[in-house]
Amino acid sequence: MADIIATNETILVVGGGISGMTAALEAAEYGKQVILVEKEAGVGGRVSKLYKYFPKLCHPTCGQEINQRRIKMNPNVRLMTMTEVTEVSGEEGNYSVTLKTSPRYVNNNCTACGDCANAVEAEFDDEMNYGLGKRKGAYLPSRMSFPQQYVLDPRIIGTPDANAAKEACKYDAIDLDMQEESTSITVGAIVWATGWQPYDANKIQPYGYDRFDNVITSVEFERLMDPHGPTGGKLLRPSDGKEAKNIAFIQCAGSRDRNHLKHCSRICCMASLKQTTYVRERYGDDGKSTIYYIDIRAIDRIDNFFQNVKADETVTFIKSKVANIVENKENKNPVLRGVNTEGYDRYENEHDLVVLAVGMQPSVPAGDFPMNVVVNEHGFIEEDESNGGIFAAGCSADALDVNRAVQSATASALRAIQVVNRVAGTEG
């Protein structure tokens, strides 16, 4: 990666999810040089694993297609995948950044023909599907992958599979000798958009995510609906592969809870409301959704989405933080126990499947940032003058929905531009 040319008028964007892509593209379409680094093998981030967005019920891959085309068409953006930032020094207008690029073992010759994947035997949990399915040791992370290049799993390097992949490739695209590379660049400003990860549901012990097959997370539920997902878009529950028709959604699974995440993750209410429409999409009047909630946070004009879901007779709302879940040993149905606090009713409700609306946790733990920034007690980067030319975008800044994350990213693009414009002296 010696050909990376960056100056103190260049903007570095860290993270290639929708926030990072947006920040990079807005700055590049304005006319700035941008380096976009992404830890994974391709851009898209968390939203590329969603089936639909609320409130429009449109598909994230649609916006991703546009954004990927914008990247392809824009010579100002230089994308570096499988790359992480390891060190940042310097100051606003003049940062030295060290990047670490992991070997992909596949070069630009790759045509995405798929011959290597056919040749490889080993299979691993598919990250794209949160481990709900398997993928090969040579793989294209998703059908939307950009760059559209295969990756070799480092675990097959040194095994006969790696050689099989290399031999299968007619285009000399597989390079088993690729090494981790370190690059140093100079940039003027940094947009930090490393996004979020779902809160570890194993930690919510009373809900038995680790013990009961039919307790899954909201992000996994998205994969079940996706035609590219592990079930080809069918709502099949993990224990027996049967269709799940009576589904419980548990809100604040890890959010608004001092035992887990103290903050409200904002998106989960709308996400669950949205997911009830999936149940309707699949089963019509035969499906049944129950939402266990503390407050339904369908904020601003999208409140009408909540009103519409409320009007759906197959959806029930119970104001309750579910106390615990046990499993019906006979049919593996999860049984939810708790109290509806609107009028005090105890319930013991059996469902086919439980979806935990897991909270949003910043991807980078507070102590792990390679630079000095002000981080609040929830792990989000605060806007602060002492951050200099480093600006948080999207869910690095707060628990945000996609729309607000993109807004935030657009704003941070401007903040970065202000810095590099000052450097360029165009201010006066």
Binding site: L25, R143, D295, D300, D398, L414
Partner: protein
């Protein structure tokens, strides 16, 4: 580039193409049938050697149109990136070999398919010029900011900080808007525990000290015309004097008006002075300045109830059917005004869902509780004003009983109503030349389609795109703050920064003649042959972005900088006088006409599929990656938007012997997913008239179908094609085979 056209066709044999198809025959077709000057095969076209081969031809052989026959136009874009030539792609990987079985039986029809894609790519190259930027560009680093509230001020400040200049036009006599009338704001920083200073004074000071920001108080816009890079605005002061200034872009931060609480008599508003709105309470707090807050008759308030969702989230006539987002936090802030001054004051917030999201929201909620603010989940039915105290009657939803509470003061959390100007879908536009100022309009645009930005829903000027929140339907004009959707001050300020970003970007793009989102950077623009125009106005009416006005002679007047290059005008034009250099009635029409139509005895029908390049086409690509098979009789042509589909393409196809046509576009209607807003809707309106054409040709109506296809429809999109093949099998081939 004005030199003579020379087309090079390059056929890739990689990824199994060479094994499955007769590429030599395809090369021959490229030169013989489609008249390419050069046709070459290559084992691996996208590698360095293949690219060099093409580049050499460009450099040494004068090739200026390149037809790449290989993988989809979505693949290897970075590799096939040749400067200053027109590039087309024939999709024989995802479009042919990956969707066809590798059997002897299928070999011939598969080869037919590939042969046609060669013809199409070469013909398209023939009718595509590399676009030259439109000359009507203008560069102006001055941004107009409409509204001097916190949103507008923040936008102006951020624009100035980026090195541009801004002019604020504010209707009232002072900057600051609603925030200036508030005592404090909801906290914006950790630990999110206490109300904080509004920050208005700092913003005003920055503006006063800045030589880049001009302010017009007591002023409104009486006329706004032009396009990005060359907006012209008449700024009229209350006194009546008008100045005209030019701008590169516009930020509309016209804010909100508090919902009229007089419509809530059941909640006691208007009946008692002690029932106030949130804005009124903030004014009382501002007057008290940290001292005890007093009622109108001078009594210190000892107990106060906050009624959330007053006239909001309600279907009742005259109420707002949305949530204003900020009111829960605002009530907590205001309850703290009381608690911080005197902890003994009883403050109760009556809510149905407490909506304080994110990290700050929950912290602030807890802080309120810690300070002794109480929260009751309940529905208020009435505020009785008869007695010495106010009686708030409500249903306690937790204790499940009707109850009441007596208080000194009731604060109604009424919502935000957007100051979005005229709803142009309901109010018509003046005839050109008879242009009048409308007092209710915010922008008073002189656009053919109306004076203000189209409203999305509930009166808000929001973008309909989740991924692209700033995409208004008027290029170069960006809305920010509560006019876009209900929001609190922190969000409004962040929103203002985003809108400022888009505004300076619009300035730069307009200066270079580049398109704005979603075809950012596209240099092509609609070109119009005035002689042929019949002044039917379809283009001016149908343009989703209101880019086209009418001149004094009633001819369409294209404002290129307002154009988003969707081609809806091209699709609308009945006399086909609108085209782009690289996308035209011919560039698609000639592809359709130049495929090989087998005669009826061969029993090989032909189906035309016009697919939206952003959703339906990728869906077909991804179906191919999954090896979903579909009929070999289809020929797929990607289109910028279904809205760009001109009826002539369908008519020509049917006339040339196609047996059916399927159109695949994005979802239309209320939750439209069309990236050009109205494109797919326009297409479906036009296609509803295709029956007449079919009738005149004595063809069955089922031969042409229009479908909504999402990018995830990897099963359905091929199915649609197969269904058409089945339909044709049922009703028979078209009689128009020559």
């Amino acid at each position: 580039m004005a030199d003579e056209m020379k087309i090079g066709a390059y056929i890739c044999k990689g990824c199994g193409i060479g094994e499955r198809l007769d590429t030599a025959q395809m090369a021959q077709i490229a030169t013989r049938d489609a008249k390419a000057a050069i046709a070459k095969e290559h084992e691996f076209l996208c590698n360095a050697d293949g690219i060099k081969m093409i580049q050499d031809d460009i450099d040494n052989e004068g090739v200026n149109r390149v037809a790449i026959i290989g993988c989809s136009r979505r693949a290897k874009v970075e590799a096939f990136n040749f400067k200053d030539v027109a590039i087309t792609r024939g999709n024989i990987r995802e479009g042919v070999i990956w969707v066809r079985p590798d059997t002897d039986e299928a070999r011939e029809t598969t080869q037919d398919m590939a042969d046609d894609y060669v013809r199409m790519a070469v013909i398209e190259a023939k009718f595509c010029k590399p676009p030259t930027p439109n000359e009507e560009t203008a560069y102006n680093r001055h941004v107009l900011v409409v509204g001097g509230g916190v949103t507008g001020m923040t936008a102006a400040v951020e624009i100035a900080k980026a090195g541009y200049s801004a002019t604020i036009v504010e209707k009232t006599g002072a900057l600051g808007g609603a925030a200036a009338k508030s005592w404090k704001r909801i906290p914006q920083k950790s630990p999110y525990a206490d109300p904080e200073d509004t920050g208005v004074a700092d913003l005003i000071k920055f503006i006063e000290d800045s030589d880049k920001i001009t302010v017009h108080l007591n002023s409104t816009l009486t006329k706004t015309s032009g396009a990005p890079g060359r907006f012209s605005a008449d700024i009229t002061a209350e006194s009546g004097s008008t100045t005209t200034e030019n701008f590169g872009a516009i930020v509309q931060a016209s804010g909100y008006t508090e919902y009229d609480a007089n419509q809530l008599p059941e909640l006691g508003y208007g009946k008692s002075d002690n029932v106030v709105t949130q804005a009124e309470l903030d004014a009382m707090a501002l007057a008290a300045d940290g001292g005890p807050i007093k009622t109108k008759d001078g009594k210190e308030v000892k107990s106060v109830a906050f009624v959330q969702c007053a006239g909001q989230r309600s279907d009742k006539e005259g109420h707002l059917n949305y949530c204003s987002g900020h009111c829960c936090s605002t009530s907590v802030k205001q309850a703290m005004y009381f608690k911080d001054q005197n902890p003994a004051i009883d403050t109760n917030v009556i809510y149905t869902d407490l909506r304080m999201p994110g990290a700050g929201g929950e912290d602030f909620y807890r802080s309120g509780q810690r300070k002794g603010v109480t929260f009751t989940k309940g529905c208020v039915t009435e505020v009785a004003t008869g007695g010495s105290e106010l009686e708030v009657k409500f249903k306690d939803l937790i204790l499940n009983e009707d109850t009441s509470e007596k208080v000194d003061l009731v604060v109604l959390a009424t919502g935000q109503v957007a100051n979005s100007g005229l709803n142009i879908d309901e109010v018509g536009q003046d005839e050109p030349g008879e242009w009048k100022t409308n007092p209710e309009s915010v922008l008073n645009l002189s656009y053919r389609q109306g004076k203000d930005i189209p409203q999305l829903t509930m009166g808000f000027n929001d973008s309909h795109f989740i991924c692209f929140p700033y995409e208004t339907r008027r290029t170069g004009i960006y809305t920010a703050g509560p006019v876009r959707r209900p929001m609190d001050m922190q969000q409004a300020m962040e929103d203002a920064v985003g809108a400022a970003m888009k505004a300076i970007q619009a300035v730069e793009n307009a200066g270079k003649g580049r398109a704005a989102h979603p075809r950012a950077g596209d240099l092509s623009y609609p070109q119009f042959r005035r002689e042929g125009c019949t002044q039917c106005k379809r283009c001016t009416v149908e343009c989703p972005f209101g880019a086209i006005d009418e001149d004094e002679q009633r001819f369409p007047q294209f404002n290129e900088a307002r154009c988003r290059r969707c081609g809806t005008c091209m699709g609308a034009c009945p006399v086909r006088v609108i085209s782009f250099e690289n996308y035209s009635v011919d560039s698609v029409g000639q592809q359709i006409k130049n495929i090989d139509i087998p005669d009826e005895f061969e029993e090989k029908p032909r189906i035309l599929a016009l697919a939206c390049e952003n959703d339906a086409y990728p869906a077909l690509d991804m179906a191919a990656m999954n090896r979903v098979e579909y009929s070999a009789f289809v020929r797929v042509v990607p289109v910028r938007c279904l809205g760009s589909v001109n009826l002539i393409w369908i008519t020509d196809a049917l006339n040339s012997g196609y047996d059916g046509a399927v159109l695949m576009g994005c979802k239309k209607g209320e939750n439209y997913q069309c990236h050009f807003v109205k494109g797919s809707e326009m297409a479906s309106v036009r296609m509803s008239k295709v029956d007449d054409t079919l009738q005149s040709l004595s063809l069955e109506p089922e031969r042409v179908t229009t479908h909504e296809v999402a990018i995830t429809d990897i099963e359905r999109a091929p199915e649609i094609i197969n269904e058409m093949a089945e339909t044709i099998e049922k009703i028979g081939l078209s009689p128009f085979k020559f």
